[in-house]
């Protein structure tokens, strides 16, 4: 993040290009696009200092629709390209957009290293648990048993949990939201933007054509209150329509449990309080899955750590201070030389 100085206040619409958006009607990506444009307007982000970098896939078309600088690269490599952009010019705000196949399968390695290096990027992973652009194959986040053109009898391999992966590789900011949470999403994105270092946001996104309803067990109206918990730093981990349910830490088994306030002598004081500086708690939150547990949304973890590009440029400054600004003629003569008359 950087200090912005836009000439005038922009609206969400000002961040949209004149290009026709080419996602399927009803795709969750439309809502995310709107959410991101709203976020940038709320942040008063300067379009000229904003870069969107993407890989390949439905989600990766994103930069074409943003009236900022944009680079649609190759499959899986967007975190690497974006790292180069940020290293070359740390003043830029760099956003990375991709899907679960792009960032966790072919590009899983780059996602891992961008996160553990803590380079200041906002990495948005649109997780729809399927390959859309290649027409419906199962992805590394698909549930076991997913029937797809490449797995007609159902997939047999265990999926990866994006948030757990990000926490496990040392990500310093790990958050979750969903395409349909139009108020929640910009708040999470703003936090990601303001965080110095690599910010990882998993956005559950519905693919209406190949994996419709993949998240309805926790996003549909009837169940969302009981199957989602919106975590906030320093606040008790309460959820449910009347905030009557909560999470407590079972210290014997080192896991979170759902309790109901007012039952079995449980009071609000017994409910665990969210601490976004606690990686272990974040990991426990990321592990929760319906139907026994709600899905945790919001900022699961936000740590403090120096950023990679700052450290790299600090070394350059140190070397320049110690050795003086580089003199190429001197460098050419470094070491042993001799003169022929």
């Amino acid at each position: 993040m950087n200090v912005q100085s836009p000439p005038e206040k922009l609206t969400a619409r000002d961040y949209a290009t004149d290009q026709e958006v080419r996602w399927c009607p009803g795709c969750g990506d439309y809502a995310i696009l709107k959410g991101v444009q709203n976020t940038l307007a709320q942040l008063e982000a300067d379009p000229k200092n904003t870069v969107f970098v993407s890989g390949i896939g439905c989600a990766a078309r994103f930069p074409y629709y943003m009236e900022t600088y944009g680079f649609h690269t190759i499959h899986g490599r967007s975190p690497a390209v974006a790292s180069g952009v940020k290293l070359a010019n740390p003043e830029l705000d760099v956003w990375v957009v991709g899907g679960d196949g792009d960032m966790l399968s072919i590009g899983g390695n780059h996602t891992m290293h961008a996160l553990r290096r803590n380079i200041d990027l906002q990495i948005l992973l649109f997780n729809n648990q399927i390959y859309g652009l290649t027409k419906g194959q199962y992805s590394p986040t698909s549930k076991i048993g997913t029937r797809s053109p490449s797995t007609p009898l159902g997939s047999v391999d265990n999926p990866v949990s994006a948030a757990q992966f990000a926490l496990g590789v040392g990500g310093n900011f790990v958050a979750r939201s969903s395409d349909i949470l139009q108020k929640h999403l910009p708040e999470v994105l703003k936090r990601a933007y303001h965080h110095k270092g690599a910010s990882f946001v998993e956005i559950f996104q519905n693919c209406i054509v190949y994996n419709d309803g993949a998240f309805k067990h926790f996003t549909e109206k009837g169940v969302q209150d009981d199957m989602q918990i919106h975590v906030e730093h320093g606040k008790p981990l309460l959820f449910g329509k009347e905030k009557e349910k909560g999470l407590v830490l079972n210290r014997d088994e080192m896991r979170l449990e759902v309790v109901t306030v007012g039952e079995n002598g449980v009071t609000e004081a017994d409910i665990a309080v969210h601490d976004e500086k606690n990686r272990s708690l974040a990991m426990m939150l990321a592990q929760m899955e319906p139907p026994t547990m709600p899905v945790a949304l919001g900022v699961l973890y936000c740590g403090d750590a120096p950023t990679y590009e700052t450290a790299v440029h600090a070394q350059i400054e140190q070397a320049t201070k110690a050795n003086g600004p580089g003199d190429i003629t001197k460098l050419l003569h470094r070491g042993q030389t001799w003169t022929v008359e």
Binding site: H72, R77, A80, V312, I328, L332, T339
Partner: protein
């Protein structure tokens, strides 16, 4: 501070030779590379021309005494122009039986073999595969053998410093160096200074090494050496006046990239991943931080290329480097740089392949990969480095072409070039013609793919520039706007434009000259890359014998120089020696429809001059 003992043997009984080839060979832990570089520096200071060839194993610390753990350093130095590291050895220094058995075949008949008899133990002999001790069974009768117990003499020489036996033996290489210094009448002071500087914080170790160096030298002066080993003299070569240093191919490319970036007024973002023999370029540039150089050791080859492309997109000069297998991994990303028309320099230190092949051995078999090795019609300029020092000019030229034409450029070096060294007259970098990049800042009429009429290059815009926000990507772009386009006619037009842009660079590079000989005649020997030295010397020798043969050496592999077809048409025959199975030969046949013939060698070793002379003679007599 320890000093060289100041007795120098009078030179009257030294035998004058025009040039000499010496190889130091020993265990990979014996310090042979250091010994070789010290001898090189001293030869350079003595005014000789020279060329070197370090040859070391892939294993970092192979089991001691084994043949696969042998490390060697060869130097050819002389009073005349030296073109190669030498076909055959005048002197082999073998520090153990494994070094002897693996290097003996390269020694001239009646050449000198100096062996550390103290290392010829039963155990070491068995490890090397000797049934009997070759120093004692007369099997070396075709050579002038000097067997000396260097191990024992070294331990004695450094006794006063109280080192352990193991530590004392580490100075053995300096004892050997001292002896060879005596043999060629060389001054020791440069090495003494170097040892004192290197072991500044360990004065005992410095003193022990210097004592060993002096002891080896004194042994030569005082011992009863065979009459023919009375010492040699190699006079200074005729060398153009100037200030010189030795330079390896890695160093020259690093300095050239830095100079090129300064001439272009850009900062470098160098992104790479460790691989033999390319890594040394990363090491060099990582130490040039005060020049604003960002180095990024990426998580893999692909990330290195991708990050370099991102860095170019952001307005610095993105550079990536690797060797053959790593370049293969980068190729999809290089295609992105071609498609999005961003500058990028890719340095490929070729090694023997395919697959892992022989990482520490040299080859030039990535020409196809460089010119043709991408999906789609994806042309990119390719330049090659001919000698260790040549990397400087080639790297500058790569930066010029990449930034002027908004294209990736591949620079081909190889395992020989990057490690070998030669004397280099240090140029004045401020005297070079500048080619400062102009970034587009004017919004008037801006579209990201509107081309410059002369170069066909698109504008380069730094993100952060007001009112020029735009999107680029790997999907085919509309001719001017850069918007996504699947229009058939547009793809034809863009493919043609990309090809024309790269082809047009032929008008912006020098015409091909005849490196040695005449522009026409019976036979042209056409080479590229590190075959320069042996081809040039072989053609020179054949011309001295009166043969009608010329040498043409290419720097520009793609596009080829615009006059090359006409030039080659002036010869009856074209012979193309390559350390591959005929890659440039095939390109020349394709481009010019000429019956170019190949001369191909893929042993992991450079051509010998003698091999080329034989081939040239055979071709002329056909």
């Amino acid at each position: 501070m320890s000093e060289a003992v100041a007795i120098e043997r009078p030179d009257e009984d030294r035998q004058e030779v025009e040039s000499a080839v010496v190889r130091f060979a020993g265990d990979s832990g014996d310090g042979m590379q250091l010994t070789g570089t010290q001898f090189t520096m001293t030869a350079a200071i003595a005014g000789n021309d020279l060329a070197t060839f370090p040859d070391f194993p892939a294993e970092i610390r192979a089991p001691a005494g084994t043949t696969f753990g042998v490390s060697a350093y060869q130097i050819n130095f002389g009073a005349r122009k030296i073109m190669t590291s030498g076909d055959q050895l005048d002197v082999l220094v073998a520090m153990n039986p494994a070094a002897l058995i693996t290097n003996l075949a390269d020694v001239k008949p009646n050449g000198i073999v100096i062996a550390d008899s103290g290392a010829f133990t039963d155990r070491n002999l068995a490890k090397a595969g000797y049934e009997k001790n070759p120093l004692e069974d007369d099997s070396l009768h075709g050579y002038r053998l000097v067997a000396i117990d260097m191990s024992r003499l070294t331990v004695e020489a450094v006794k006063e410093f109280g080192l352990s036996n193991k530590e004392a033996l580490r100075s053995k290489n300096m004892w050997a160096l001292g002896l060879i210094y005596w043999m060629y009448g060389r001054k020791r002071q440069a090495s003494v200074d170097w040892l004192n500087a290197k072991f500044k914080s360990k004065p005992d170790i410095a003193a022990a090494n210097i004592a060993a160096l002096n002891a080896g030298h004194a042994f030569g002066e005082t011992a009863e050496m065979p009459a023919e080993l009375s010492g040699f003299e190699v006079l200074p070569a005729k060398i153009a006046p100037g200030t010189y240093r030795t330079i390896t191919g890695t160093e020259s490319v690093a300095l050239g990239l830095l100079t090129g970036a300064q001439l272009a007024n850009l900062n470098i973002t160098f992104c790479s991943y460790p691989i033999t023999p390319a890594s040394s370029l990363l090491h060099q540039l990582a130490r040039m931080k005060e020049f604003g150089v960002v180095t990024f050791q990426a998580e893999d080859e692909i990330a290195a290329a991708a990050a370099a492309i991102g860095a170019s997109y952001a307005g610095t000069l993105g550079i990536t480097s690797s060797s053959g297998p790593g370049i293969a991994l980068k190729m999809e990303a290089i295609g992105l740089a071609i498609a999005t028309e961003l500058p990028l320099v890719v340095v490929n230190a070729q090694r023997a392949g395919p697959s892992t092949g022989m990482p520490t051995k040299t080859e030039q078999s990535d020409l196809y990969q460089a010119v043709y090795g991408r999906n789609g019609d994806a042309p990119m300029p390719v330049l090659s480095v001919s000698t260790p020092a040549d990397g400087y000019e080639v790297a500058i030229e790569a930066v010029r072409i990449a930034t002027k034409y908004m294209t990736p450029v591949m620079v081909l070096t190889d395992g020989y070039i990057v490690n070998a060294s030669e004397p280099w007259r240090i140029p004045d970098p401020t005297g070079h013609e500048k080619f400062a990049v102009t970034f587009r800042t004017d919004p008037e009429g801006f579209q990201p793919f509107v081309r410059d009429e002369a170069t066909l290059a698109r504008p380069w815009v730094r993100p952060g520039t007001p009112e020029l926000m735009h999107r680029i990507g790997g999907i085919e772009r509309s001719y001017n706007s850069g918007h996504i386009s699947y229009d058939p006619a547009n793809h034809q037009k863009m493919t043609d434009a990309r090809a024309a842009k790269v082809a047009g660079i032929a008008n912006d590079i020098p015409e091909q000259d005849v490196t040695l000989g005449e522009p026409g005649g019976k036979l042209a020997v056409v080479g590229w890359g590190s075959t320069y030295g042996p081809i040039n010397r072989a053609v020179n020798n054949m011309r001295d014998e009166g043969h009608d043969v010329s040498h043409i050496h290419l720097r520009y592999i793609w596009p080829l120089p615009r006059n090359l077809g006409d030039l080659l048409a002036g010869y009856d025959h074209v012979l193309v020696p390559e350390m591959n199975n005929g890659q440039l030969k095939t390109v020349l046949r394709d481009q010019y429809m000429i019956p170019a013939e190949g001369l191909n060698k893929v042993t992991g070793k450079p051509f010998l001059i003698g091999e080329l002379e034989t081939a040239i003679r055979a071709r002329l007599e056909k």
